[in-house]
């Protein structure tokens, strides 16, 4: 149910009857205003509405999801507890994860397909398209009682004399709206939070630029099933690293299978994008033409091209989450884990929206909206997987930075060479090949001692 500000007095939540369509006065009609109907915003709205708060969600797109882009794989452990995901517009469950390291012309890959992923709840990992999913998820918040207005952008926050946030300004005529609480769920390009000094603009080394294409295969109906060996609702998530994916930049590329389309894209640090790396569109062309990637995407017709940024500063870059009269959730709070092996923001967005929603509901119920009355939100988040994961991988960002040439260029090359050597079919005995392969790898990492050091430094990535 998507309504426009000018025609929405009957939409859900608690707008007093004496307010008319021609003279809308929503001041203090709502307990909380949510900025943005993405995953974090809808999770917060749903949680608050379920706790009987009157909630208004303001979304700038023509519908929720209209402005949103991700890879991607939606992680559903928390969503499952809030809504019935069986009804959600999911594309495929992730039955296989594959990690490939690409040099200019080689690939070395690892594939994981645990049998358990084929069974419900499929490791809580599903490919989705945000245009569909976000709209559905926002509808669940509306069904719980929240009111949604679309095509409306929040342009600033209102504050009272002591600086407490008391509402929002929007780009609608007479567009100010007072409310005791504001939930900032505006995503990574957080103009409102920055404009109101709730956070600083992230450094460009802590932000990635991402591009993505959705591909259709009009000439080959079963191209996706065939090329990715899929059966039923099963799908695949392929991740790529190394020179063949994103040149010498820090980042990676991906291919995800949807029901009848592929999502193909890549992301790398803006710091690198402004230097040696060709622009994002050309980097994507290059990746798609890699000998190990081209057979998967060939013949695909681009039905959509999209771009977005990813905040990836980790735990150190997370701003204050609570303020007097306001909370910050999801990507706006930098809650994304992107360490190479994991690219997860959806679960953190939902988890933070949920905890923030609970804390706001308690605060509003007791009539207190200062930061200290909202402290349950950061407290709950810190003891959840969200902050634990961010902190757990903090070291990685620093370690990778120090070792980047080795990790993204030299090692992939050596692994590919070593693999080729190990499996070489000629007249030499196998153990010669194995010995050659080993020495090729060892040369690169600096012998036993270097290998041991590397293994130690990266031991926590998969733990």
């Amino acid at each position: 149910m998507t309504t426009d500000t000018t025609e929405q007095t009957d939409a859900g939540g608690g707008i007093a009857a004496d307010r008319t369509v021609s003279d809308p006065d929503y001041d203090d009609a709502f307990d909380a205003v949510v900025v943005g109907a993405g995953l974090a915003g809808s999770a917060a709205a749903l949680t608050m509405a379920s706790a009987s708060l009157d909630v208004l969600v303001v979304e700038r797109g023509t519908s929720p999801g209209a402005k949103n882009v991700f890879g991607g794989v939606l992680y559903t452990p928390t969503i499952r507890e809030l809504v019935d995901v069986e009804d959600a517009p999911l594309e495929r469950y992730v039955g296989e994860k594959r990690f490939g390291v690409l040099t200019e012309d080689d690939e070395t890959a690892v594939s994981i397909q645990p049998g358990a992923w084929r069974d419900d709840p499929h490791n809580d990992s599903y490919t989705v398209l945000r245009g569909d999913f976000d709209e559905w998820f926002a509808e669940q918040a509306v069904e719980a009682g929240a009111t949604l207005v679309t095509e409306t952008t929040v342009t600033g926050l209102l504050r009272d004399d002591d600086g407490t946030v008391v509402g929002v300004e929007t780009d609608r005529p007479d567009g100010t709206l007072r409310a005791p609480m504001v939930v900032l769920a505006e995503g990574g390009n957080s103009l409102v939070s920055e404009g109101a000094d709730l956070k600083e603009r992230p450094e460009r080394g802590d932000v990635a630029v991402a591009v993505k294409e959705v591909l259709e295969f009009p000439d080959a109906d079963d191209a996706i099933e065939q090329r990715f060996r899929l059966t039923g609702d099963g799908g695949a998530a392929y991740h790529y690293f190394g020179d063949g994916a994103v040149g010498d930049a820090f980042g990676g590329a991906f291919i995800y299978t949807n029901d009848d389309t592929l999502s193909v894209g890549l992301a790398y640090r803006i710091d690198d994008a402004v230097t040696t790396q060709p622009n994002p569109a050309e980097t994507l062309d290059h990746f798609k033409s890699h000998p190990a990637v081209a057979p998967l995407v060939r013949g695909g017709r681009t039905v959509e091209y999209a771009a977005k940024t990813i905040p990836e500063g980790g735990a150190e870059a997370v701003p204050d989450l609570v303020h007097d009269g306001a909370v910050v959730v999801g990507d706006a709070a930098g809650l994304v884990l992107n360490n190479g092996v994991h690219l997860e923001g959806t679960n953190m967005a939902v988890e933070s929206g949920y905890y923030a929603g609970l804390a706001v509901a308690d605060a509003v119920a007791s009539g207190r909206t200062k930061a200290h009355a909202l402290a349950d939100y950061p407290r709950s988040l810190e003891s959840s997987f969200v902050v634990k994961n961010l902190e757990h991988y903090e070291w990685l960002l620093n370690a990778v930075e120090d070792d980047r040439d080795l990790l993204f260029s030299e090692l992939p090359r050596a692994v590919a060479d070593a693999g080729a050597e190990y499996f070489r079919v000629d007249h030499a005995p196998k153990h010669d090949h194995a010995a050659n392969a080993k020495s090729r790898l060892f040369e690169t990492v600096g012998g036993w001692r270097g290998a041991a050091k590397l293994a130690w430094r990266y031991r926590k990535v998969i733990s």
Binding site: A66, D171, T275, A294, A306, A307, T309
Partner: protein, 104 residues
Amino acid sequence: MSNTPSTPDVENASLEDRLYTVKYEDPGESHLDVQVVGFCVERCTTDDCVDVCPADVWRKDEDGEPVIAYENCLECGSCRFACPYNNVVWEYPENGSGVTYQYG
């Protein structure tokens, strides 16, 4: 054995065709600008806004002034982070105009 090349040709759509896939409503005026043109002309030698943009929105004319094809913009926000002089003025196009993604 046939002599088909071992790597199949991938026909990548041109940027123009790519941008054409995105539903777009023109807000009528640019939502992008620069704070001080002088920075772009005199100080800035790296043109980071141009390098980062996935949609070829930013170009510089021969005087070094930025030319902004705002109607190509995918609203990713990258140029805002990329400019080392914090010189990009970036607002959302009004009332839901700009891009609308169908897939996302």
